[in-house]
């Protein structure tokens, strides 16, 4: 034992030997660092916390002075957001009050304002549109981007540099201005206010991002793997499909997340290119007007409901994401 200890390291190696890490109170420093990070995270998340509180506040609690941290939670915001209601009066109201026990929790909240729920709100339809369009556009832009990125990465495409710059150029004009030509074009093509049209336009705008990102990732994959596969009798397409795609999983995941965040929150196109059938949620959330003012709690509730799907996907893919943001810029 003694001899062994003398030849091996005196202490178990828990820290790297990089000098900027190693100092006498490394462990303490690490804890301090963790605490600082958590404090910073709390500060950054405070506005999100405010949003969560607001979602459960009544109208007068939202504007109480000073702002309240403790309040009586109410589901009014969610009721406003998710349901269509009609005002009751006189006998109908009395009758509804008498049968209040039969109502669900939303129904009871609505009844307190003298209202009856008549059905789900437009927001639920818009949420569904958002899911369809975001899913469609993300899948399409990542798939197309993957093909193109592979070809640009592996083959000597004529005029490659210019083509790559061309692909990027679409993002450089303020979106507000681009919407008008696209609007005119969509009217002509019958794509206005259709899911297909929205999927198409988001695919187009994300392609610059996906091609550039994915090319970076595919460049990093050693081409020897494919060469070996080709020698083994794989076709090009098989090599791409069975070798490159699995290798690029991290990059695909990261690209998916960035595409999704863009499509999910996009506002200007959604406003101008849709009216009823294909309208997504973002233009609706910010403009929720109720009885004489902004319905803060409904906006907050809408934002939270709208955040959940992205958050779930980001958590599912977070390992890839942290690695994936290199944008292929560093290739050691």
């Amino acid at each position: 034992m003694a001899t062994f200890e003398e030849t091996g390291p005196r202490h178990p190696v828990t820290e790297s030997t990089r000098v900027d890490k190693v100092h006498p109170r490394a462990r303490l420093a690490k804890n301090v660092r963790a605490i600082v990070v958590i404090i910073v995270a709390i500060m950054l998340l405070f506005p999100v916390f405010v949003m969560m509180m607001t979602a459960f506040k009544s109208r007068s609690d939202v504007v109480s002075i000073p702002p309240k941290l403790i309040f009586e939670p109410t589901l009014e915001g969610f009721v406003f957001l998710l349901t269509e209601r009609s005002q009751l009066s006189g006998a109908a109201l009395e009758e509804a009050r008498a049968n209040a026990d039969e109502l669900g929790i939303f129904g009871q909240v609505a009844l307190r304002n003298g209202q009856r729920i008549t059905g789900p709100s437009d927001f639920t339809i818009r949420l569904r549109n958002s899911v369809i369009i975001a899913f469609g556009a993300t899948v399409a832009s990542v798939t197309l981007g993957l093909f193109a990125a592979y070809a640009f990465s592996r083959f000597d495409v004529p005029g490659k540099g210019d083509l790559m710059f061309f692909i990027l150029s679409g993002r450089m004009l303020p979106a507000v201005v681009v919407t008008i030509p696209i609007f005119l074009m969509y009217r002509q093509l019958g794509l206005h206010d259709t899911h297909a049209g929205m999927i198409l336009i988001y695919t187009v705008f994300n392609l610059s991002l996906t091609v550039w990102l994915l090319k970076g990732f595919i460049d990093e994959i050693p081409r020897e793997y494919e060469e070996a596969a080709l020698v083994d009798g794989y076709s090009r397409f098989q090599a791409f499909y069975k070798i490159v795609v699995p290798q690029a999983a991290t990059g695909i995941a990261a690209t998916t997340v960035f595409s999704l965040i863009f499509v999910w929150n996009e506002y200007a196109f959604a406003l101008m290119l849709t009216s009823q059938k294909a309208r997504t949620a973002p233009p609706a959330i910010a403009t929720m007007l109720g009885r004489g003012g902004i319905e803060w709690s409904a906006i907050a509730a809408g934002t939270l409901v709208f955040l959940v799907p992205v958050l779930v996907i980001i958590f599912a893919l977070r390992k890839h994401l942290l690695r994936g943001v290199t944008f292929g810029a560093i290739r050691q």
């Binding site: 660092r33 083959f155 005119l184 929150n265 910010a286 980001i314 390992k319 994401l321």
Partner: protein, 321 residues
């Protein structure tokens, strides 16, 4: 940037007979893989780009229901010689400069903090990304609520309990007295809040890609930690930092309108009227001066391309070193 990557990844031309057969199918694959993307980009991306360039030389209004009439450089003259426009560019410049600088410094600090993993650091790192996942319109609207001196949280958090002697951020006032520039700072604070985690994440991934041996070598040379930071960490992270800055600069010019509209609407008295807001006001909001807005947008485009080229050139130079 584009041309370098074009040359360094080219496949050597095939030589043997077997490979010749494959080369044919390679071309098929190139076409199959690239053309779908190019076709929809040409159809849906190039058309708007060129059509709005055309419109910028006309008096077109999207709602007028009459064909565009060519007016030459009229729109560009108006933009170039209008005080309002220069004011908007100045405000945007200040906004970009301060927000990006702060995001870089704070993002770097945050990246250094999360560089070493601790238990749960993955979750914390993901959670701090929430701000950038929110819709900018809603973010603007909510911060307006948070900044309100009476029923907003912000002033209470930074220690102002009495609304009468506190900053009224979005009105550019402090204790009732005008304090020009405060509203722009309020916007910058929100921008920094929203995008610092993103920049931190970029720098973080750069930091993790630095090979350990560089630091080990530095230790052997007994280099100071400042020297290590300046000579190893910074140069290695620089390319990513530049890309982050490039992204943020482009977005500040082209996309910042939803955030600012939600928060201040360009006010008070135009103090936060960045170019994106100005273009939005011209292109919509009852005016619909599509031609003039397009001209303005093209000037922004030229600036953005100039800045992008500057960044990309620096990036390439750094790569060569």
């Amino acid at each position: 940037m584009t041309s370098t990557s074009a040359t360094d990844t080219a496949v050597p031309p095939p030589t043997t007979g077997v490979q010749k057969h494959r080369a044919l199918s390679d071309r098929a694959i190139i076409n199959l893989f690239i053309w779908p993307t190019l076709i929809i980009l040409i159809a849906f991306n190039v058309f708007p780009l060129f059509y709005s360039l055309f419109l910028s030389f006309t008096d077109y209004s999207a709602i007028a229901g009459r064909p565009p009439v060519w007016v030459g450089f009229d729109n560009f003259n108006r933009v170039l010689f209008s005080e309002d426009m220069w004011r908007a560019f100045t405000i945007t410049g200040r906004y970009v400069l301060f927000s990006v600088a702060l995001e870089l410094v704070l993002g770097f600090a945050l990246a250094l903090l999360i560089r070493e993993q601790f238990r749960g650091s993955g979750i914390v790192t993901t959670l701090i990304l929430i701000p950038m996942m929110l819709s900018p319109v809603v973010v603007g609207l909510f911060w307006k609520l948070i900044y309100t001196p009476t029923f907003g949280y912000f002033n209470y958090l930074i220690g102002f309990r009495n609304p009468t002697v506190a900053p009224d951020w979005l009105a550019s006032r402090f204790a009732g007295q005008p304090m020009p520039g405060l509203a722009l700072w309020a916007v910058i604070i929100v921008d920094v809040w929203m995008w610092t985690p993103f920049i931190a994440l970029l720098i973080y991934s750069g930091l993790r890609a630095i090979p350990d041996y560089l630091y080990e070598a530095a230790v052997i040379d007994r280099a100071s930690s400042w020297f290590q930071f300046r000579r190893i960490t910074l140069p290695q992270v620089m390319p990513l930092m530049l890309i982050a800055v490039l992204f943020r600069t482009i977005e500040a010019f082209t996309k910042s309108f939803d955030l600012v509209m939600g928060m201040t609407g360009g006010g008070p008295g135009g103090q936060t009227e960045v170019v994106a807001v100005k273009i939005y006001q011209q292109a919509f909001l009852g005016q619909f001066q599509t031609g003039r807005a397009s001209a303005f947008a093209y000037m922004v485009l030229i600036i953005v391309i100039a800045i992008s080229n500057l960044y990309i050139r620096n990036l390439n130079k750094m790569r060569e070193d």
